[in-house]
Structures are given as structure tokens and as C-alpha cells.
Amino acid sequence: MTQTDTILEISGLGVPLPSVGDRSHAITDVSLTLKRGEILCVVGESGSGKSISANTVMGLLPPGMSPDAGSVTFKGRSVLGLGEREMEALRGADISMIFQEPMSALNPTMKVGQQIMEVMEEHNRPADATARQKRMLELLGVVGLPDPESLQHVYPFRLSGGQRQRIVIAMALALEPSILIADEPTTALDVTTQAQILQLIRDIQASMGMAVLFITHDFGVVADIADRVAVMEKGRLVEMGTRDEVLDNPQHPYTRRLLAAVPHGRPRTDPVPKGAPILKVENLTKTYVTAGGFGRARRVVHAVQDVSFSLARGETLGIVGESGSGKSSIGKCLLKLQDIDGGRILFDGSDIAPLSPSAFRPMRRRIQMIFQDPFASLNPRHSIARILTEGPVAHGVPQSRAMDRARELMDLVQLDRSALERYPNEFSGGQRQRIGIARALALDPELIVADESVSALDVSVQAQVLELLDHIQRSTGVSMIFITHDLRVAAQICHNIGVMHQGRLVEYGPPAEILVNPSQEYTRRLIAAIPGRAQPH
């Protein structure tokens, strides 16, 4: 057999949707071939059917869904007709899968070593318990985890997101499958961790020679990892080719749109508006102390240490860092969603840090926030009209004026005015984030803090929302603090960027300078981790 042998063939696959929605099929006429030893990326937005395709192969469709057309052939054997028992033998052993959310893929009450061995026990391979133990330790090493000997006894909650994802990968590799299906395995991770996990998948794939079906919405990731690329739109395969063909010469307009949506990271260069600063943060400090208990030590986390910066009226400042770097804590402190442990927050000249909640409430109108999670940040029981008018009304604006303003805001964030009568669950993630933006603008604030406001969105939607934020910032002249883990995004829309690392502001300057000539080692690491930059293979 040669390296180009087809190992998995999907042809003409169709899966109908159970209820009649905007389309009758989740996927229609999807044909893909996966060859031995290659990485095939399936790219598309959420709802494009890429995950359904993978789940069909694994026999993991939600109840009530089953394919009505086409075939899936694995090593010359049809998979679709197999019973649950036969599928179980196949899963894990021949085809294994890693998921987006590493926490929910692991059992929180089981030590990680045990979880890896359980996969082998389930398939009784190897049959000998000590051999399984040895293999488990070996796997922990393979996925690049330090000190397997002690790490095997650790529970998942003690590990970081990246480490958990490595454990999940170790589980998937335990039986040396011939196909690894990876469903957005890095979407929930930081850029730096993402870069490491992508590198790991590439290395393992090269050394073990398995085939990888890699599902993602991010063309930056595709550039890093793919041999071949399949693009899916609304349940159909619209383009297929080698990585270079698709990236350099995309044929389908949808592919071009997705490619254009990848943050370009071209630094914003217009000068910072001159004038008195709207916000001056001096020596801000925030420490979290978790109470100790039986057998648990008191834990002290210095989330923010001695951070100072200032923001001019009309300026956009990006705060960039990994999760745990303290960037979100700064946002929460600025909005007084949590108390600070030291320093001053001078808003328009007066220190807001010591104000009591009721003394600060009248000022809240002037500082607004756009939240991260478009699904959790809107009250599911309130209509959009109520969500947009409640704030202004609480600050004394008459209901009718607030409604007029809400209609204007709908136009500004490019949603239909009829949306006001509806409820959050009727909107997509991108639309909800537009509503969140409108809610912040409803109070005509002078400062907006946007905390990871686009990171939960698909790349294509992210591009639209970013453009909207940029447009609003430029047209209204509002000052903005943009908190993100993505240096490219920050560079595009910020006048200045502050890089956070372990609670400290380690680097500060205009994006052009930071991207081209970073002074800190940590910033260089962040830049190197930007997907699509590393040279694959």
C-alpha cells in the first residue's frame, strides 16, 4: 500500500434535519476522501454541517437524525449500516475523536491517568494491566506533558485548558487509531496554547502516520496545519483542493469571503486624538484570595499588579494577553463589578475606586461594557426593546424617547427594527452581540470596555462585528478599551496596545511598533503564535 491510499471515503452523504427549519438537510451530497497520512481540514461557519459530517462518520448523530443518502466507507467497509456494538469497537480503536471543550470531554471525578487507561481497558488492548500503565505514561510523554509519573494522579480541574486538551489527545491516541477526527480542538484555547496544540497534532500525525480530519472555522489554523482543504457552506461542499490551491487561489465566493474574514492584523495608524485623558489608571492592584479548608491551602492570586495606563478621549486601547493574565480583571475593576485592592481609577479627573455602589450608579451611564458571551449576556426572558430601554429609563429618560433611541440603534448595528419585539433566543451569536453593542450605546457612554467581545464568534461574523465596532468608535468618537487574546484583532482597531502577562503590563505602545519591534520575549511569543504565521511542515 502506498501513502496515498484512501482510508475513509464519504460519498453523496445526506443527513436530513428533524424539524423543518430554514433548510431540510443538515448536510446534502457531501463527498470527501481522506487518505492515509494526510491532514484534511473541513472549514465552514457554525451551522455549515462540518460537525454533523464528522459525527455521522463516528455514528454520533443526535437522536432523531440519521443519514438518508450516500455512504461512508472505512478501509473498504461500510460504516453506516453497523450496529451500536460494532461502532463501539470501531470508535476509539480505529477512528477516534477530540472535541472543542476539553473540560466537558473529561470526567471531573477521575484521575487523568485512569481516564487514559480506561480507553484501553474498554477495548482490552493491551490486555495486560501493567502494559496499559506503561503505555499511559508513554502517551503522557508523547503529548508533551511534563512529569507523567506524578501527572497521572492529577484530577482534570487542576490542569489548564491546554493541558486538558493534551490529555484528551492522549486518550484519542491510546489505541493508535488510523483516523483522528478533531472537531475545533483549539477554538476554546488561547492563541499561544493553540499554536502548541496544532504543533503537537502535526508532530503526532507525522510520527504515527495516521490520517486527521480537522474541523475548524478559522482559515488561519488551516494555513498552519492542512494538507488539503474542504470548504462547507450551508450543508454543502463548495470547494475542495490542496491547501495552497485553496488559500492562494480560492474559486468559490464563500471561500473568498471566509479568507477575507481572517483578521489581517494590519496595524491601525491614525494618530491618537489629543486632549485630556478620559481615564487614568494608576497602580491598579487586584488580588484574589480563595479561602482554605480541610487539606486545602489558602490560595492567593495576584490577578492585576501595579498596572498604570491612560486613555485619551476618542482613543482605542487594546489590552492583550492569555487567559489568566489579568486582562479581564482590569475590565471588571474599571466597571466596579469587583472591588480593587490598591491604586486609583481616575475617570474624567475623579477617582471612582472608593465610590460606593449607590454613589457610582449615576455615573454608570458614562462607562459601559460589551460582554464576551453573546448567549449569556442577554436576559432570555426580556424582549430586545426592554433590554435596550431599561438602562436609559433607569437613568431618567422617558420611555418613548428611549424607544426612539432603540430604533435608531437597531439601524446603527444593522439589525431590522422589528427585532425589538423579539427575544434573544431568536437571534444568532453575531446578532446577539450586535444587540449587546446597542445596549452599551443606548446610554451614550464616554467609555466602552469590550471584554473579548468577538472571540466567541465565528471568524466571518467576528470580522463583521469588528468592522461595526471600528465604525462606531470612529463615528462617535467614544473611547474604547478592547480586551482580547488576539493580537491581530487588537492591532487592527486599536491606537495603542498594552500586553498583559501574569498580572503585569509588560509592554505598551502603538500596534505598528509592537508587531514589528516587540521589546519583550513574551510579546514575541504571542506574535509567533498567531495562526497562519508559522511555517508548516
Partner: protein, 280 residues
């Protein structure tokens, strides 16, 4: 709302429970029309065996009082006391739970310790003591049942508030400058309603049982015929006239069962995702 109704109607037990409960309510409302004379009046020969005399289909007790009239008027007492005491208990429980869960910290600690004091004393024993102190009448019974039954509501509401207040939309409500009371009642409480409704429906059933137990022990309202009193009065003649105890017993059983079925139906209808096994 129609989706909720459809899910509720799909649950046959809940529909049957609703039917039985409605029957009890209708009987309770029309008791004075069905039995114009007081249930305490001696109207016939004592100890008429039920289902033997056309004039008194449910028989008479040892003093010649109509058992049918007792059952009908007993339904009034049960429904009245259980509903009012549940409403009072839910109001107290939601208030305390909401304040504890929203403010957290010292407030939470204090209110939860108070709640625990109430929870550690056995419910019935405390109800007996309270009614005995306040002299038995309908008000003291309602108050006693409310006082013993609010703690579970408070704990439930506190738990819901603790998890909901961390949600981003609550932070968003703070950020746009809403006052705490508006956040508690306008933003958080509506999202915590489903478990409260389910718990409340089950509390009605418990209240009926508690009221019956109090009446059985002779701590009922002297002016109101109740099912528990009927069982208590009949217990001395359990061997000679078992149906005298069994009939009011069945009334309690059916009413409590129907309310439990409704509660379960509400739970399924309000939390449809819990019903789907292995679903996402």
C-alpha cells in the same frame, strides 16, 4: 406558553391529577349547595354503613353526622389552608433566599444559619408547638404551616440566585445602572420561576398532610370540619367502622397524589431538556 401547555398535556399522569384536583376544588366551592346543613349537625342514625343508604351515600359517623358533608367541607379547609400557607411560605422563602443569594457574604451567612435553625427542628413537631401556643384556629394553623415550610424554598431560591447572579446578563444589568431591587425582581427572579413553581406545587400537598395531622391530633380549627379531624374522631372505632377513617383517608390520598402528579408534570413541562435522555 402554548409549547408549555402541549408538553404538560402530553403527561397523562399530570392531566389525570389536574382532573382529580379540579373535582376536589369544585366540591369544595359548592359544598354549601350540596350539603346546606352544617357538617357538624346530627342528621341521621349513627354509624350508617357507607354505600348502603340512598339518603347518606357516604354513611354517618358515631354521632349521626353525614360523612359526605364532612368530606365536602373538609375539602374547603384543606384547599384553603394549603393554598394560603403555601403562598405565605413562598413569599417568605423567596424574600429570604433572594436577599441571601444576591448579596452573599455576611448577609447570606446570617440568613442561612437562621434557615438552618428552622430546618433542624422536625416540621410537624414545630407546627404542633406553634399551634398549641397560639390556640388552634385557621390563622394560627396557616401561620404554623408557613413557618415550617419556607426553609426549603429559601435554600432553593438562594441556590438559583447564586448561580444566576454570576451570569453576564446580570452583570450587564448592573453596568447599565439598575438598582439591586430591580435586578432581583426584574432580572433574576423571572429566570428562577420554574423550580419555584414546581416546589410550591409540591408544598401544597405537604401542607394538606400537615393540616390533617394537626387536626388528627385535635389541633384543628374547632369550627371547621376537616379530613384530619374526621380520621382522628373515627380512630376509636377503627375495628367497628373502618370506612369512617378510610373515606377521609382516601380523600387526602387522592388530593395529595393529584397535586404531586401536577407538580411532576409542571417540572417536565418547564424543564423540557431534563426529559430527553442522553440528548444535548
Amino acid at each position: 406558553m402554548s409549547a408549555f401547555l402541549r408538553r404538560f398535556l402530553r403527561n397523562r399522569g399530570a392531566v389525570a391529577g389536574f382532573g382529580i384536583l379540579m373535582l376536589v376544588v369544585v366540591v369544595a366551592i359548592f359544598a354549601p349547595l350540596l350539603y346546606p346543613t352544617s357538617p357538624w349537625m346530627m342528621v341521621g342514625r349513627p354509624l350508617l354503613v357507607p354505600f348502603s343508604d340512598g339518603q347518606f351515600p357516604f354513611g354517618t359517623d358515631m354521632l349521626g353526622r353525614d360523612i359526605g358533608a364532612g368530606l365536602a367541607y373538609g375539602a374547603r379547609v384543606s384547599i384553603l389552608i394549603s393554598l394560603t400557607s403555601t403562598v405565605v411560605a413562598v413569599v417568605i422563602g423567596v424574600g429570604i433566599g433572594a436577599v441571601a443569594g444576591y448579596y452573599g457574604g455576611v448577609v447570606d451567612d446570617f440568613l442561612m444559619r437562621v434557615t438552618e435553625i428552622f430546618q433542624t427542628v422536625p416540621q410537624l413537631a414545630m407546627a404542633v408547638v406553634l399551634v398549641a401556643i397560639f390556640t388552634p384556629n385557621i390563622y394560627s394553623i396557616v401561620i404554623a404551616i408557613s413557618i415550617v415550610s419556607w426553609p426549603p424554598v429559601a435554600r432553593l431560591v438562594r441556590g438559583e440566585f447564586l448561580s444566576l447572579r454570576e451570569r453576564e446578563f446580570i452583570q450587564a444589568a448592573t453596568v447599565i445602572g439598575l438598582k439591586p431591587l430591580r435586578i432581583i425582581f426584574g432580572q433574576i427572579l423571572p429566570n428562577a420561576m420554574s423550580p419555584i413553581i414546581v416546589t410550591a406545587s409540591l408544598m401544597v400537598a405537604t401542607a394538606i398532610l400537615t393540616e390533617s395531622a394537626l387536626s388528627f391530633l385535635g389541633l384543628g380549627d374547632r369550627n371547621m370540619m376537616s379530613w384530619g379531624f374526621m380520621i382522628g374522631a373515627a380512630r376509636t372505632m377503627l375495628r367497628e367502622a373502618p370506612l369512617m377513617s378510610i373515606l377521609p383517608g382516601c380523600a387526602i390520598l387522592l388530593t395529595v397524589l393529584s397535586i404531586n402528579l401536577i407538580g411532576e408534570g409542571l417540572n417536565d413541562a418547564l424543564n423540557p431538556q431534563l426529559r430527553k435522555k442522553g440528548g444535548h
